[in-house]
Symmetry: C2
Subunit: 173 residues, 2 copies
C-alpha cells in the first residue's frame, strides 16, 4: 500500500514538472491543450478597478483590469499568493483617437476606448489548476471562448511573473 502511495506521489510530481516545464509547442494539438475556463464569470462588469494599461506594438489596445471582491481584497492587503476564488478580468478595447475630445483640447492628444476586442480572465483554484500555477486562463471574443489551442501561450507567458504569483497588473491606488 505504502509503495503504491509513493508511486502515485512520484507520478503526480512528475506530471507537475512536465506541465511546468513543457514548452507551449509540445501542446500544439487540441487534445493536449491546457485546462481553460470556458464560462464568463457572472457580474464581472460590475467589479472594482485594479488598474489600466495600454499596449502598442501590434495591439493598439487599452486594458481595464477589474477584480472580484477576493481579488481586490488580496491586492489591497498585498498578500501573495492570491487566494482561491480570486478572479482577475482584463477587458480589452481598441486604443483610438477621440475627435470629440481633441476638438475641445484644440489639439490631437486624446485617446479613448474603441470597440471591445476581447476579455481575458485568470481564475485562481490551486487544486483544479495546479498544473498551471494555480491559475485557470480564459479568453473570450464576442462572448465566445477562444479555441483551447490559442490559449497555450497564457501560462508560459504569465509564468514569467512568478514574483507576483503570475499576475502582471499592479494595483493603482
Amino acid at each position: 500500500m505504502k509503495r503504491i502511495t509513493l508511486l502515485l506521489v512520484a507520478v503526480v510530481i512528475l506530471a507537475g514538472i512536465i506541465a511546468f516545464t513543457a514548452p507551449a509547442s509540445l501542446h500544439a494539438d487540441d487534445s493536449a491543450a491546457p485546462i481553460v475556463v470556458t464560462k464568463i464569470p457572472p457580474g464581472y462588469r460590475d467589479w472594482s478597478l485594479i488598474s489600466v494599461a495600454h499596449e502598442e506594438g501590434n495591439l493598439h489596445s487599452f486594458a481595464a483590469v477589474l477584480g472580484n471582491d477576493v481579488a481586490i481584497k488580496a491586492y489591497r492587503e498585498g498578500k501573495l499568493p492570491y487566494p482561491d476564488g480570486t478572479i482577475i478580468a482584463a477587458l480589452h478595447y481598441g486604443h483610438v483617437p477621440s475627435a470629440e475630445n481633441n476638438k475641445v483640447f484644440g489639439q490631437a492628444q486624446s485617446f479613448v476606448a474603441g470597440a471591445p476586442t476581447n476579455i481575458q480572465f485568470m481564475v485562481k483554484d490551486s487544486t483544479k489548476y495546479a498544473a498551471t500555477g494555480g491559475w485557470g486562463f480564459a479568453f473570450f471574443i464576442d462572448g465566445k471562448p477562444a479555441a483551447p489551442a490559442s490559449m497555450q501561450s497564457c501560462f508560459p507567458c504569465h509564468n514569467q511573473a512568478k514574483a507576483s504569483d503570475l499576475v502582471f497588473t499592479h494595483y493603482a491606488p
Copy 2:
C-alpha cells in the same frame, strides 16, 4: 407682492444667464469662484468602470473613469440627462512605460498606470448646481481639494459637451 416676485424671477434668470455665459476670466478672484465639491465621495474606489482614456499633449496621463450606482445605471440605460445623485469619478495616473511588461513582450510596447496625479468628480444635483448645468465639479490632489480659482475651467470646458449632458466619457461595454 406680485411685482416683487416678478423682480425676483427676473434677477434669478439674469443670474443664471450670466453664470452660463460669463467666460471663465470674469471669475478670476476666489470670491466669485464657482460652487465646487470639496469632499471626496466615500467609497468611490470601489465603483464600477465607465471607461478608460489616455491623454498626451502636456498630460501624459491615464484616466480610469468610474461611476456610482446611479451613474452606471444611467449610462447603461442611455438616458439623458443624468439623474440627481449621479457621481462620475476620473482617477488620473501617469502614463508610464512598463519595463517589466516590455521584457516579457520582447519590445517596448507596454504602458501602465504610474503614480496617481489627481482625482476629479462630477456630482449631479440639478438644484444645488443649477448655475453650472446641474453639475458640481471637484478636483483633488493628494486627497486635498484644489483651490476654487483653479476650478474655473471645469464648467466652460464640460459645457461644450451639451449633447451628452456635459459628460465627455462614453460607456465602454
